[in-house]
């Protein structure tokens, strides 16, 4: 609002050929907010977003914020089970979704979806019985002003769906205040001003993308959003819009780096690049830090607490094996299994205190309490602090696969595969992948019939897992390497797979 008064004609959001100036953004948000309100959305309402990157995503997010509603952003390829779980757990009452996705949801659930059709708002096309966002916006005679509801910053705003190793989903709640604090912290850390033009190359359901959109709107800058990430597209966007700032996931930066020498585009506008979400390999980090003639940062953090450490290329290459020092507002402590602080150089669990911490796990007070001790959040990652207070990340304690920068919980995938009647036992692991960092691989022991095929499992996963969760390979084995107590040794399974010595 403030920025719309300062420079109404300045581009706020650029997506494809759509350019929304600050004034247009305010006008459109007002209409979306009013439209949602007419349907019954208000403070405390949960709205699922099943959208690809689009201006509609941004408008829905801002419109919901204006009403004090919370959004639950999800991939539009999300599996049916995960979608139903999210709706059940968070009490989602409305869904804004790509029309093909909404239509498929109703087609797959002939007996009816858990939400009535008139609680679904479609984007891109109409679906019988549902509201069409364009119609809702166009039929709005005179939308009220934004901020009419005087929503408090402590209002819940975004729920990020996640789950644990036991497949117990734990939606993370961020208030409007948390999102603002994180945006301001990133703004300060990377010196973002109203002159910056940021590029979002990641899906908007990803927490980092929401920050990349919200941060420039707070500072008065411009946010350019990519529809899908491609290296060529990234180069073109940087040149076309004179991008100055970008946060990308490590897998994307590795791809960018591999084609940098062949790029004919002018990338000189770039002032700062930040790598997030999965750690870069040491050698890649070194090449990246030297390849771009701009600031390059690598950040480390967790969804729950945001960025907690930062490595800047102004440091010396002797620190490239680290993920940098604690950011302002964050305190890091390495602890042993009993929660005692360990000495410098000793490996333990990474814990941290942060002013940008999440609010809570939705509806799961016990998990919220368990994740903190003495005010420190337990990340589940292992690492140590060196003598210069640089954090060195060693491994993940929690079982998470990070593929293309997105977290996949093996238990979620295993639960779906285990439902197949011909699968006796399954184990899902992450295997190193040049392009994606890690890729999801499923190992399966068949039951006595032994007629199961990869194709059959692929089919089984179609409507039950999001695209990024679906295994890229299925490997049939006679047994898994196990502990004497029968627990699957996943690390060994990966090693055997990589060595080609797996027993098939």
């Amino acid at each position: 609002m403030k920025n719309a008064k300062r420079f109404p004609d300045k581009p706020a959001i650029i997506f494809g050929e759509d350019i929304l100036t600050y004034q247009v953004l305010v006008d459109q948000t007002r209409k979306v907010s009013h439209a949602f309100s007419r349907l019954g959305v208000g403070e405390g309402t949960f709205m699922g977003l099943l959208l690809t990157n689009s201006t509609e995503f941004v408008l829905s997010m801002l419109g919901a914020a204006d009403l004090g509603a919370s959004i639950v952003p999800m991939s539009n390829t999300l599996g049916r089970k995960d979608l139903l779980t999210a709706i059940k757990l968070t009490g989602i009452k409305y869904v804004v979704g790509w029309h093909v996705t909404i239509k498929n949801i109703f087609d797959l659930n002939e007996e009816g979806f858990v939400l009535p059709r008139d609680h679904c708002i479609t984007v891109g096309g109409k679906v019988e019985g549902c509201h069409f966002l364009d119609d809702l916006i166009n039929e709005d005679p005179e939308a009220y002003d934004l901020n009419s509801y005087g929503i408090d910053v402590n209002t819940d705003f975004i729920l990020t769906m996640t789950s644990g190793s036991t497949s117990e989903p734990k939606p993370i709640v961020f208030t409007q205040g948390t999102k603002i604090v994180r945006s301001l912290a990133a703004q300060k850390l990377y010196g973002i001003t109203e002159d910056d033009i940021t590029l979002t190359p990641t899906p908007l359901y990803h927490s980092i993308s929401q920050r990349l959109v919200l941060m420039p709107l707070i500072t008065g800058g411009t946010s350019v959003i990519m529809k899908n990430f491609t290296v060529k597209g990234w180069f073109e966007m940087v040149e076309r819009y004179k991008i100055t700032f970008c946060i990308a996931v490590s897998a994307q930066l590795e791809m960018i780096l591999s084609e940098l020498d062949n790029a004919k585009n002018d990338l000189s506008s770039m002032r700062c690049i930040v790598c997030c979400c999965a750690l870069l390999r040491g050698d890649v980090k070194e090449r990246l830090f030297h390849a771009f003639e701009c600031d390059v940062h690598e950040c480390y953090g967790a969804s729950e607490v945001g960025i907690i450490s930062d490595l800047s290329c102004h440091g010396t290459s002797s620190k490239f094996h680290t993920v940098g020092v604690a950011v302002p507002g964050a305190k890091i402590e390495i602890v042993d299994n009993y929660g005692n602080k360990v000495s410098t150089g000793e490996i333990g669990e990474i814990t941290c205190k942060s002013t940008a911490s999440f609010s809570r796990y939705y509806g799961n007070e016990e998990s919220t309490q368990k994740s903190f001790r003495r005010g420190y959040f337990y990340t589940g990652d292992m690492g140590y602090m060196d003598e210069d207070n640089h954090l060195v990340f060693c491994s993940r304690k929690k079982e998470i696969i990070i593929t293309g920068g997105t977290n996949v919980y093996p238990a979620d995938v295993e639960a779906v595969l285990n439902q197949h009647p011909l699968a006796k036992e399954v184990s899902v692991v992450g295997v190193e992948d040049e392009k994606l960092g890690e890729r999801v691989v499923a190992f399966i022991i068949q039951n006595e019939e032994g007629t199961l095929t990869s194709r059959e499992l692929q089919r089984h996963c179609i409507n039950n897992l999001a695209d990024y969760q679906k295994p890229m390979s299925y490997v049939f084995v006679h047994d898994f390497p196990r502990t004497p107590l029968g627990k699957i040794l996943k690390r060994k399974l990966v090693d055997q797979y990589n060595e080609g010595s797996i027993s098939i």
């Binding site: 494809g16 891109g124 491609t230 597209g233 293309g404 179609i462 890229m472």
Partner: protein, 96 residues
Amino acid sequence: MIINVCTGDMMAKEIFNFVISLLERHGPLPVESDNERMAYRYLEVAHIDSFGLNEFVMEIEDQFNVALSPEDTQSEEFRSVGGLVELIDKRINAPQ
């Protein structure tokens, strides 16, 4: 042979419609007309990304009862809608 989905070829039109419906599941197509859609190079803009590719191929194979080899999916033809329609058409009509 250049397939023209705008004219009488019913099979090509059916393949084209199916490929478009698969692509639309992943988001809006940036072009409207059939001719533009035939020329649409969906892989280059990551309309189908690494995560969605296996399933995309499987859906096509299941729908038309054909098999696309790794060479097929890495071919130049596979990269555009028109090329893919031709490729599927060829596989349907290939002698068993």
